[in-house]
Symmetry: C2
Subunit: 396 residues, 2 copies
DNA sequence: TGAAGATGCCGGAACGTTCCGGCGTCGCTA
DNA sequence: TAGCGACGCCGGAACGTTCCGGCATCTTCA
């Protein structure tokens, strides 16, 4: 904060060093000879030239206009596609802009159209830092950048939220938690919101919803287990601190499957950020109380890997008499032994889609009352932990 | 991009969905405001007040000034700490600003002081997506945000780099690869650069260097293995496609340790993004050619986990007659069985420090010719894969 | 042959901030 | 008492962009 004394910056002469070094001249177009306008206040000769590798004042739209022999309005119109500009002029301006290496100043642009040029990504507290969420965030960043938007990561610490406070044009809320007060705040914050995963809680409706089809995905996984011989799968799911559409759908679909197959559900909840020891205990408890389980589905990121160790130390042969699957894919699941079957939500592409949806919503400033809904496809990665084809050359 | 036709937007309404809850609605010309005053020719009819639909225009510094009965210059000076303002006045202005919920408009600020308000983070291609780099990036994002900077992630795709092109005020280059041409470009791009890990390649020197003490860290790990009874550790390291200060220091330190202990080094290189099968093959090859190994150190992120499976299938008892350690910590290393000892580079804190260093460099606009060097502390996480204390009771 | 409209282009005013230079008023010293 | 510097405050310009309104010129049709 010190910012000690005045420290006057030069900013005076503006060292009109046009810098138009680029090999101009000629350029087929003929006419339109550049430098129609005299550089304003070319005044003070020399004196102010930047000595060494000057900061090279970046080229503005006025420079483009001057070199093209038009006004800044026309240049702006030509480049933005707005207004009325003849085709010739537009082409010439575009050519000049390219030659000079013109790039619009985002700060000025944002100031002018009162946009911030950034979107926010809100991640639930419990899981920041797990692989899925990071991959997702990178996907968002990638796509946002393509749309000229910066990305601001919002943690639960960014409270006192409300839109003006957190300078963003739009928000992506990942896995909104049912009763997270921050989510409600953000939804009412005044900027367009895309939720990833439906929001089952209260609050204003978002402008967009992107979600995987968890019903289908889960059924696919359960059916896969069935096709590999499992009749009674158990489920380790996130506990009550992490009530999202994902976790609830998972449970509902699982229970429906059980009832359809006439078996008694066997589930245990566990914190998504549980310690390895806790996971151990939960898995042991479940396996002990339900000796009939011949498969185990693990939902929280990372839990399947730990369950693998626990099951092995219980003497179970994973991939043979006990199948194991994860609801979240991660690199480590294919690195372990045996590799673990998992639902791949393709988090990176998921993030890309989310950013894309938000960008579209921001571009179309018309506020439909109905949210835009979009589905994100997933893939089932089948690996050795769920055994091999029953028909094929069976293992013996 | 096209933004099709003219489509003049009604800038007035600005789709004022703002709804702007903030308390004081004082915006109107209501001179009755407590502080009275409103000197600026209070009456100025129609100046900017469109009585119809006063849409949540966010509060600017002029609003603050008016409510405090001072000029915008004084308000700005008071809030920024610059200029000469009496303590009374400053206090009053601060109080008014807080009451109105004033937040400076970053776009305007950036425009004024010709800063972009963002920093870039460049990640080597090979490893984007591994846990370490993501954690690091999140750390950077967190700290950058605290400094009012946005973060732009730069992949290798962001070619045609050069500073003006990629609108950033500064850059963080993570693990610069020896002969990465993009790194050279970025270093010469004209904006301050902080490298994380020394840059052994050519090119201009960065303004700041943040690095862990890999020599000490590696020695610590090797000594730990020795204290647990290992006499001949092997090393799996990144191959020639990933020549960084980290990988080179690792190798050098390892070889120095071996020569100091009078043993023959046993290393294998592997791509940092190698497939599980490749890792399998490399580990098998190393173990087969060097039957004297009683410990294995794995450098590439994720390789230790796979090595664990491979070693087990070779019949080795990891944590007993063969010790296993990783040079990069990750969540999965404590979830597997047995948990794997690892060097924790504390990636999140690492990223925070990097952003902090860059922010400091950006704040102090004096360009020292000598880069700022800073060291990042690491921690060794000792787990069951490196056995237990030879003498004392088992660790818990 | 005018009038009305279309077309092509432009001047200038914002957006919200920072900061240069200036202006009046003190209090101190000569 | 005059001189003068420090103090406290302010007006206005600039950063680079977009866009409203307007002015010519050209086309079209009554």
């Amino acid at each position: 904060m010190k910012n000690v004394e005045g420290r006057p910056k030069p900013r005076t002469g503006d060292h009109g060093a046009g810098e138009h070094s680029a090999g101009e001249q000629g350029a087929g177009e003929g006419g339109a000879d550049e430098q129609g306008a005299a550089p304003p206040s070319g005044g003070a000769p020399g004196a102010s030239s930047a000595p060494v590798a000057g900061p090279a004042r970046s080229v503005t739209i006025v420079d483009v206009a001057r070199h093209a022999g038009v006004s800044k309005t026309t240049a702006s119109d030509a480049l933005s596609g707005a207004g009325r500009v003849s085709a010739r002029t537009r082409a010439r301006i575009e050519e000049v802009a390219a030659r000079l290496g013109y790039h619009p100043n985002t700060a000025a642009r944002h100031l002018r159209n009162s946009r911030v040029g950034a979107v926010g990504l809100y991640l639930p507290r419990q899981v920041m830092g797990t692989g899925f969420y990071m991959e997702f965030a990178f996907g968002v960043a990638e796509r946002a950048r393509a749309a000229g938007l910066d990305l601001t990561l919002l943690g639960p610490d960014s409270s006192g939220v409300k839109a003006p406070r957190l300078r963003v044009d739009g928000l992506i809320i990942l896995d909104p938690i049912l009763d997270d007060p921050v989510v409600a705040d953000l939804l009412g914050g005044g900027v367009p919101v895309v939720t990833v995963g439906y929001h089952r809680g209260s609050g204003p409706t978002p402008r967009g919803v992107l979600s995987a089809d968890h019903v289908e995905t889960t059924n696919l996984l359960l059916e896969h287990l069935g096709s590999r011989g499992a009749t009674m799968p158990g489920l380790i799911m996130p506990d009550g601190d992490f009530l999202t559409d994902w976790s609830l759908t998972l449970q509902e679909t699982y229970e429906r499957w059980c009832s359809a197959h006439g078996v008694e559900p066997a589930t245990r909840g566990v914190a998504v950020d549980a310690s390895p020891e806790t996971l151990d205990a939960v898995v042991r408890d479940l396996m002990a109380s339900r000796p009939d389980l011949d498969a185990l589905v693990c939902a929280p990121d990372g839990s399947a890997l730990r369950a693998l160790g626990t099951l092995r130390s219980l003497g179970r042969r994973v991939g043979e008499e006990l199948l194991l699957a994860s609801c979240v894919a991660s690199q480590s699941l294919e690195m372990c032994d045996p590799p673990i079957t998992a639902v791949d939500l393709r988090p990176r592409a998921y993030g890309v889609s989310a950013a894309e949806l938000l960008a579209e919503i921001l571009a179309a400033d018309a506020a439909d009352d109905e949210p835009v809904r979009r589905v994100h496809p997933t893939e089932l990665r089948i690996r050795a932990s769920t055994g091999s084809e029953p028909a094929g050359p069976a293992r013996q």
